[in-house]
Symmetry: D2
Subunit: 336 residues, 4 copies
């Protein structure tokens, strides 16, 4: 399957490298990025990709290209999805689709009309640990889910410039967890209560954002859940899930690079957690691409569907409103 | 130090046995219980305790008795505290002091005026695991606390009769966690948001109670916290804490009876958690009594003070109001 | 059951305290120790024991005393067993019975003739972790044992005076493991190969002893096993077992005082292991006494029998010979 | 760097796939295998490799080829090493070089004379867990090594045909551990005592081999070590190391595919270990090739040197003699 990557920034390069090295079923024909520089071009060419262009529209015009990977900035996602759909290309789009519920819906509508596949880049669904929790839940091993818990903490806060353009912690960071918790619950969120605090960096607060948050969620099926996020866990990536149900509980422990245990006078210690997202989710990024290729090549429903592009955005919108007004917010209040 | 135990029910007997066997610094002179039966009396006498009486007031009249342990039902606590204080006895009282904030305050006022010691039976503060988390927090190892999490789940729901008289999940069960989270935070709660569900047993719902709950808490010092409770964890007692802060995170894993690891075709398994509270907290119940004796004998402030009898009740009251009205509730709203 | 303790040294005091506090079914009537000093006497009396004597023989003459606990030095064990047997007293004797196989056999013969109970103080059989491994093996969960492994390391070497009188690492330290590995295997050792080294303290080597050792054992039932010992694990007591069999493997992890996990920049750490044997085996020492009382009171075979007093001594003798001659030694070679 | 792979059996294909997908610095120009069939050829061609030949000598004649990977059967290794050395090719050779100490020495002599690089395929040195243990030892974190322990167990025994041609458990299976324990000790083995048993499959015994073994080793630097092997761990690959030293101990826990923890009535369970070697050592096989490429391209000493091809063979020879004669054997006895 021939594909084009749109956007050769950080995440675009990860996909380019992974596909070139480890995803044989996808061939990247073109990389399009209006802002690509010499370094970026050299990077792309080092994988034997010939077409590097600043003209994004050329991708949609190329009949050989079956699928596009949208890895550009969030504000361009909806437009590019609509253009790709119009051109009949299958689409992989990084999260989130957009911060506007209306624009997300418009983009999804275009996809549906065009009958192309759309997979959203919620890469954590492909993490081997989280997947193990999901499989245990789906197989009924813990019975009916009652309580869902996610702790998700980044090693260090992004730059203030990034924070400014991020849309806030709920759209930028917790959106992964909003997707994951729905995925685990097998049910949609109906109500959200968000509590936030500025405890890591006052500059984040100055931008009107929070760096620490606890969000309580109610699900259609009666389960309740809670997510906590922090922009700074000094010990590295810390991402853990738990689903507690009528027949037991399943959780994953944080992922660390090896199983080494060191016993010394001061106690027994395990290794340091991952410090870099690409290391933490190496396999997940590759598996995500295998899944996308599989859905296109074998005409399957993608494992992260169009509605998975919408619901997390609705939850994030509700969380923002809840934080602003200091009250629980129903999803229906933000669903335009 | 000579003491009397008031109430020879389940918890009273635990204290009688522990003190007789393992707490040499306390001598139980009298056990007083208006409802004691033959079995109860035989149990008490088997520990060489001679005075067994149905006359509770005789305890207060006995000048030899320095301290009383109030182990009767919750509705009698406040009155007994006031009587004991009036008689100049030091007091150990099981949790909670009362469901009425006003009555708690009245009892505490009486204690303060009498100048006697009062220790509340928040036994989990003495658990070796939770204590280890507390010590790590207090010693500054994780910096300033940002997020506090408690999961606390019982092996099976109490009888409906018990539920009916329990005052609800917040006064009966989560009150332990309200105390613990304040203890860990080193700061008082200012606001509470409670979400509850009836997922274990509809009969609990029929009593107007919930069996599953997530409560979000805001602390004076800016930290935020979350507690989840379930009346039924089929795998046994599950009680875990985490305090996440500016310099790291400290948590305890659930306690299991031994370190045995069994590897078979179907995977690797650890032992089953405790099924009975007395097994789970054996050492904590003993250490709690050592601490009470130490505070009386050596004239120290008890490790669980009078205010620790008040604040958890305030939080429980706020949680009840939050659940009833579906909104966050400030502690000041319930502090009469 | 009325008992006397002979020897009020370190181990004797542990039993006196445990029985007084936690083993209600045994009443210590007398403590006899020819070398007892004022401190020792005060210690004994603090538990309400009236009879403290330097005259050991008075114990055997007292018809009220049903059982004796022999806690004196190893060289006195065999004689005291024979005297106690002659007097018709049941016997608990600290390990090892003697360093001479012939004398052990003589003592056991006396016990058998007298028809009294004899329990040897292999306390680790009562450890909750090791017991869990044993139970898994006996219940058939790992099938037929193939490989048995024990690692057993002390926090620090004893004094050189102690080493000098200890009989060497095999009689003094590894004897516990010789008992345990037989217990786990459910089969007797037929051959021993011992490899030793002086790596901790040259002074130990100067006494003709080793401080580090690996011993390979062959069992009658075909299984093979290995034990490693070190006199100094700087991180504390480290005692772990593994039994690997046809259907799986069961092991215990080292015991640590709590389940606290601390995550900081430098990694994730668990607590420090126990530094003091009495802390490590608190419950085991108590359970050992319950078991002895149970065997006497209810006329049961003790859980550590007379032959358990013999076989580990045979293995230790074979290990010493193996180390001296640098070759595998059959048990039959040392069985006089 | 252009390379040829000699032998397209199981291990050859692993290297072909890994290099093609993940080791960009090596280009496989030729795959040579006298016995290659259509399937094998199709497999090779699927990675875009054009030259597939049955003529192994053509590899040595091709001036473009800088390095050869010898993945054929053990009996061909020594000859192929000598031919490759004569042709000036750098060499990666699967373990063991040969079962004859004399032939190993001849091959190594040829390599030394030719001045080419030789890396032996002891892939476990590249395992992320074992590497972590090694790094901790080398960095001095545990002080001076005193006791080294390796447990290494395969999920299921090989076929009897394989056993027959394998050279026995020491040359075929424990040779990995002989290499690893030297690597960890940083010192050479001087004496070996091997104990073996036939507990898994009598047919293995009928071939004169054992399926279960414990080997005790003495090192030049005074440390002592022990390795246990079983041909069948029903719960999957079980490979664990421990190095215990003067300042602590470092070990690795067995590797499992994820961190999922499931708590149910019957206890708490972790995932099943790996069942397939390629899954267990995926990254190690790739890292091994990166290291080989690095040593050739950047003219470095390979991380597994020629002597690493010799010493494990000497230890295996000593273990065989020890098992046959039931006595400890010095390495000098088998070093011709």
């Amino acid at each position: 399957m021939k594909a084009a990557v749109i956007g050769a920034g950080r995440i675009g390069r990860v996909h380019i490298e992974n596909i070139s090295m480890a995803v044989r079923e996808i061939e990247i024909k073109t990389v399009a990025d209006p802002f690509i520089n010499e370094d970026g071009e050299a990077f792309v060419r080092s994988f034997g990709i010939e077409n590097v262009t600043k003209d994004v529209d050329s991708v949609f015009a190329d009949p050989e290209i079956e699928a596009v990977l949208i890895c550009s900035s969030t504000d361009t996602h909806a437009d590019l999805i609509m253009k790709a759909a119009a051109a009949g290309k299958h689409i992989f789009c990084e999260k989130p689709v957009d911060h506007s519920v209306a624009r997300v819906k418009m983009a999804l509508e275009a996809v549906r009309k065009a009958g192309v596949k759309l997979q959203i880049g919620f890469v954590r669904r492909f993490d081997h640990n989280h997947r193990g929790v999901y499989d245990a839940v789906r197989s009924g091993k813990i019975g009916t889910p009652h309580i869902l818990r996610i702790s998700s903490r980044d090693p260090e806060p992004p730059t203030i410039e990034y924070v400014r353009r991020s849309g806030g912690i709920f759209y930028d960071m917790m959106i992964h967890d909003f997707d994951m918790i729905r995925f685990l619950a097998g049910s949609e969120v109906t109500e959200v209560y968000a509590k936030g605090a500025v405890l890591v960096d006052p500059a984040i607060g100055a931008e009107g954002d929070v760096d620490t948050a606890i969000v309580t969620l109610t699900f259609e099926n009666g389960a309740i859940g809670v997510i906590d996020n922090s922009r700074q866990a000094v010990y590295g990536y810390d991402q853990r899930l738990e689903v507690f149900g009528s027949e037991g509980s399943v959780q994953d422990e944080n992922d660390i690079p090896n199983t080494v245990v060191l016993s010394r006078r001061e106690g027994t210690s395990y290794g340091t957690a991952y410090q870099v997202m690409w290391d933490r989710y190496t396999r997940a990024f590759i598996d995500e691409m295998h899944a996308f290729a599989d859905s296109v090549i074998n005409d399957k429903v993608p494992p992260v569907t169009d509605l998975d592009g919408l619901y997390p955005v609705l939850i994030a919108a509700a969380a923002n409103l809840s934080l602003a007004e200091g009250r629980p917010v129903k999803i229906s209040e933000v669903d335009e």
